[in-house]
């Protein structure tokens, strides 16, 4: 699984963190970041729901 984040689009809603908290986090600017070591989605099926949960399409997920 490949996760791409677009911090320029991000509005800091935190929907990604709510949906897949082990994989997504917010940095000190409260913008989207991936949890270190979990950049491949860590096998969490909830990651697939994040692109739809994000209000501004700042996250894309593609299967390898």
């Amino acid at each position: 699984m490949r996760i791409t984040i677009d911090r320029d689009r991000c509005i800091g809603s935190g929907q990604c963190v709510m949906t897949a908290p082990g994989v997504f986090t917010q940095d000190d600017d409260a913008l989207v970041a991936l949890v270190p070591g979990q950049e491949d989605g860590a096998g969490d099926p909830r990651v697939r729901d994040v692109p739809l949960a994000c209000p501004v399409q700042a996250v894309t997920v593609t299967e390898d």
Binding site: I11, G12, S13, G14, V17, M18, T19, Q26, D28, D29, A30, L31, D49, L52, A53, P55, V56, Q57
Partner: protein, 404 residues
């Protein structure tokens, strides 16, 4: 494709918005607009025809579509409430502007409303809620849940976050209430002027004697560095203060009322701490306190077989999107165990609520603690005697007498 021209009003297009009868159910007329089509035609109070988006998927796509504008300052931006008539040209930061200006303003505020910051203030919110519940138990029953609990929680929380002295709360709560609840534009303008003058003075005072709230950070980081001028800081403060008051008070009061009318769901809420966030998301879906959003098309857009033209008024029904049967099974059933994912209680797109994680923290702590401390809580009057806000306002009870 149906060829329709919104500029020729359909004689049958019903008025919008309409008042709810049940505080947490859509008006009877709205339920007839659900069905095969994701949009319908309605008429605003001034006779202007408008599209009302009712479909969940279509509404989400449109709210994320840059061809829909939120520029309140546009000379023909739709007017839905009489009190905002003639406000054209007055740009409200964040809510009333489009990107790139919107993005510049929002970027400055995002760190103050981040998930970690909001989790960090939870212990202080819990203290505040505990104190208010102590007072309620000492003073009741009967108690008005709105003035004793639902209003002070968000009021104290937003004051502390912004760095606005809560000692002045009677004054600005009244201004805020008059500003969003005024019958005429004259009354709304008067309340606005009072609030503006108050915050103008507060920002000046903070420039001389800095504190440690969000406004102080904005002043330090932006005003001093030239990123914002004095007026912009005052207007941002005004928008955040009003938004922090007028939404969450309704979400707490209407959430509590909905739970009291579904006592078996209170047991679900109290079943374990993890049940609370899920129940809150379902309440946000089910109650849709912010009933509709207002936009204007800037280009032609095809939606559900209709052509929305540039300049058309587009209203997005948060209530009907959250009750769309293609998105939620049995959408009119309140089920605290439901996964209400992708609800639009906080909107969608670039304008999705900046304070949503503050609101979640407030709602989870307020409702979780309210029913844990007072398990027998119930309305002191029949449901049809609970006074509620008009259809064009944020939805919720004006007063909610409760007993236990």
């Amino acid at each position: 494709m149906t060829e329709t021209d919104i500029s020729r009003p359909a004689p049958s297009a019903p008025p919008f918005p309409q008042d709810r009868t049940c505080p947490y159910q859509p008006p009877e007329a709205y339920t007839r607009w659900r069905g095969d089509r994701p949009l319908t035609r309605v008429t605003l109070f001034d006779g202007r025809p408008a599209w009302l988006i009712t479909g969940h998927a279509e509404g989400r796509a449109l709210l994320a579509d840059p061809r829909l504008s939120s520029d309140w300052g546009h000379p023909v931006f739709p007017v839905v409430v009489r009190r905002t008539e003639g406000r054209g040209g007055l740009a409200f930061p964040l809510i009333g502007v489009d990107d790139p200006l919107h993005a510049r303003q929002r970027r400055m505020l995002i760190p103050s409303f981040g998930v970690k910051r909001m989790n960090a203030i939870r212990p202080r919110l819990q203290d505040l809620v505990d104190r208010l519940l102590d007072d309620m138990l000492a003073n009741g029953p009967v108690v008005d849940l709105v003035s004793a609990f639902a209003l002070p929680v968000p009021s104290m929380a937003i004051c502390e976050l912004l760095g606005v002295p809560y000692g002045d709360h009677d004054f600005f709560e009244e201004c805020s209430r008059d500003f969003v609840g005024a019958a005429t534009s004259g009354e709304a303008d008067a309340a606005f002027a009072q609030l503006y003058t108050y915050l103008h003075g507060l920002v000046a005072k903070k420039q001389a004697e800095p504190g440690d709230g969000l406004l102080d950070e904005l002043i330090a980081r932006q005003l001093e560095e030239g990123g914002l001028d004095h007026d912009e800081v005052v207007m941002i403060a005004l928008v955040l203060l009003v938004a922090g008051h007028e939404t969450t008070v309704n979400a707490i009061a209407l959430g509590a009322l909905t739970l009291m009318q579904h006592p078996e769901q209170i047991d679900v809420l109290l079943s374990d701490p993890d049940a609370v966030p899920r129940a809150v998301e379902e309440l946000l879906r089910f109650t849709s306190v912010s009933d509709y959003l207002v936009r204007m098309a800037t280009e032609e857009i095809e939606v559900g077989g209709e052509t929305v033209r540039a300049g058309d008024a587009v209203l997005v029904s948060i209530t009907l999107m959250n009750r769309d049967a293609t998105a939620y099974q049995d959408p009119d059933v309140f089920d605290a165990r439901r996964n209400a994912r992708h609800h639009v209680g906080f909107g969608h797109g670039i304008h999705q609520c900046l304070g949503q994680n503050l609101a979640r923290a407030e709602l989870e702590i307020a409702l979780g603690s309210l029913f844990a401390r007072i398990p027998g809580l119930r309305p002191a009057v029949p449901l049809d005697q609970v006074p509620i806000k008009a259809g064009h306002d944020a939805q919720g009870p004006i007063e909610l007498p409760v007993t236990w």
